[in-house]
Symmetry: C2
Subunit: 312 residues, 2 copies
């Protein structure tokens, strides 16, 4: 499938793997890139040195393009911003903040910058900064979420900018990807489904809970703290929501949440862990190789777009 | 465009107009039906007698099929349930409750029953009750909302039932409709965009506010009351949300909200009115005839599905 984004980045298939904190490592990113998509390594890992190691490891595992996702609100953002230049990374996706302080250095190094955006205003701002494309992420997605959802967000972003737009949030299979193309996207970013990849490092309990989740299996917490996050409904998220409803001081709630993603990813701890996941968690039924996931999504979308099953 | 739902109902275009309380009247329903879609008259109106009058008026305005949307939680539900049989209505959509008590009488009268559902479990229940189809409504929509959004909800409902599924929530133009078809829907229900129809009775201020709304122009209130509703951000909704955050007793908040939809629809009252609208409010740019809206959505979807703009 050829779209604006496959041509700009030199990838075979218009699919990015989400740059999931503590999860998106060399093994997963390389598997996605080897399957023709764009793998991403997260900047949120066991320190900046670990990110460099993952990049080098990914280079051993694939000769195809992959990128680094930089969480700009994190304390190590400036270090990672320099690191991607040093390591000769060609593609950077960004989230949780503005890449403005780093754009000049990145552009000088020939890096393609593709920010994740949750609103039209932010998409326009990113275009003005020189972004190559934007990923319009609907609040169906797992992790940090905005207010608007994919069906409504993507066409509004497409209408507002002239750079290519990818869609994220609510995309599980060929149906979601084909829908994203109809909304005007030239590619998709998928997070939740890659959590169930064989090559994904999350704890077996994390994968089990994804497989067990229903269509109403996720919830958003943290809105009252200005930090809305979607995750699987677990004893932890219910307790978190209860603390918010009870008006417990923000500092106390934040302390309760500290380290919760790591507890989910590495320990599968249901009472202390935050199992970030999007609304499509209910569609996960099995663990499979990343390449099978890429093929199901993009191959499925191709089939649907070639034969939409509606007669005129 | 021919789909399962156009064939079952004998309509030309696979588009339903939402059965918006206090808004969906004979004039709007007839305009949509005359354009080839399915117009709906709301059961929430100035009393049961007024609903009968609207049905009779619609019969004068169109010879094409139209239906009645019944809000089952309303005190007049049983009266309306009997009225649609008496009036020989062929198609009923339902919301906010179970149609179980009325199914036998409706089926005996040959009425096609199409409930609005917000979850897989409810869709399955409606299929078991003998529904002709279901409308899977994502929480992007205006008015009462569930937890899951269109991109994730529709394919999960499609996988769970064997009856036809329509999609609602987040559908504004041909892009949204084409996306809905890709997700497996055989038709769409559109509410927010029809608020901007020339034939729609809402106060001019309501239409103006829709035109001015941005992509982040709506919000959900009432979640803490177990009654989540999406509407335009106004002084009223901000006050409502503040009362919820402050933990003000539910009865007091409900009293503040009583009659607020009518104040929006008939008076355009920004401090006391609840301007129900979906996330696509940001896409409304003008007032136009219902027929132009139907043509833009379905004609636009046809064009996109015939030429998806992706090369293989």
């Amino acid at each position: 499938m050829k779209t604006a984004i496959t041509q700009i980045l030199g990838i075979e298939k218009p699919i990015f793997q989400g740059g999931m904190a503590w999860i998106a490592d060399a093994r997963l990113a390389a598997a996605v890139s080897n399957a023709g998509g764009l793998g991403l390594i997260s900047s949120i890992n066991a320190g900046t040195r670990a990110v460099r190691e993952e990049i080098r490891k990914a280079r051993e595992l694939t000769r195809k393009p992959f990128g680094v996702n930089i969480m700009l609100a994190a304390p190590n953002a400036a270090d990672i911003a320099a690191l991607v230049v040093e390591e000769g990374i060609g593609i950077v996706t960004t989230g949780a903040g503005s890449p403005a302080p780093y754009m000049e250095a990145w552009k000088a190094a020939g890096i393609r910058v593709i920010p994740v955006v949750a609103s039209v205003a932010y998409a326009i701002k990113m275009q003005e900064l020189g972004a190559t494309a934007v990923i319009a992420e609907g609040a169906e997605s797992g992790g940090h979420v905005g207010d608007t959802h994919t069906m409504a967000l993507v066409p509004q972003v497409v209408d507002a900018v002239s750079i290519p737009v990818l869609a994220a949030g609510g995309i599980f299979d060929g149906r979601g990807a084909a829908a994203a193309f109809m909304l005007g996207a030239c590619g998709v970013q998928v997070g939740t489904r890659f959590l169930s990849a064989e090559e994904c490092c999350v704890h077996p309990v994390y994968k089990e809970r994804l497989i067990k989740a229903s269509d109403i299996g996720t919830m958003v917490t943290g809105k009252s703290l200005g930090d809305a996050v979607r995750s699987l409904k677990t004893p932890f998220t219910k307790q978190f929501a209860k603390m918010e409803a009870q008006g417990i001081p923000a500092d106390e709630i934040r302390a309760f949440g500290t380290g919760s993603l790591r507890k989910a990813v590495f320990e599968g701890d249901l009472s202390g862990g935050s199992f970030l996941a999007g609304e499509v968690a209910g569609m996960v039924t099995r663990i499979e190789p990343a390449a099978a996931i890429v093929e199901d999504i993009i191959g499925g979308a191709e089939k649907l777009l070639q034969n939409p099953g509606v007669s005129f």
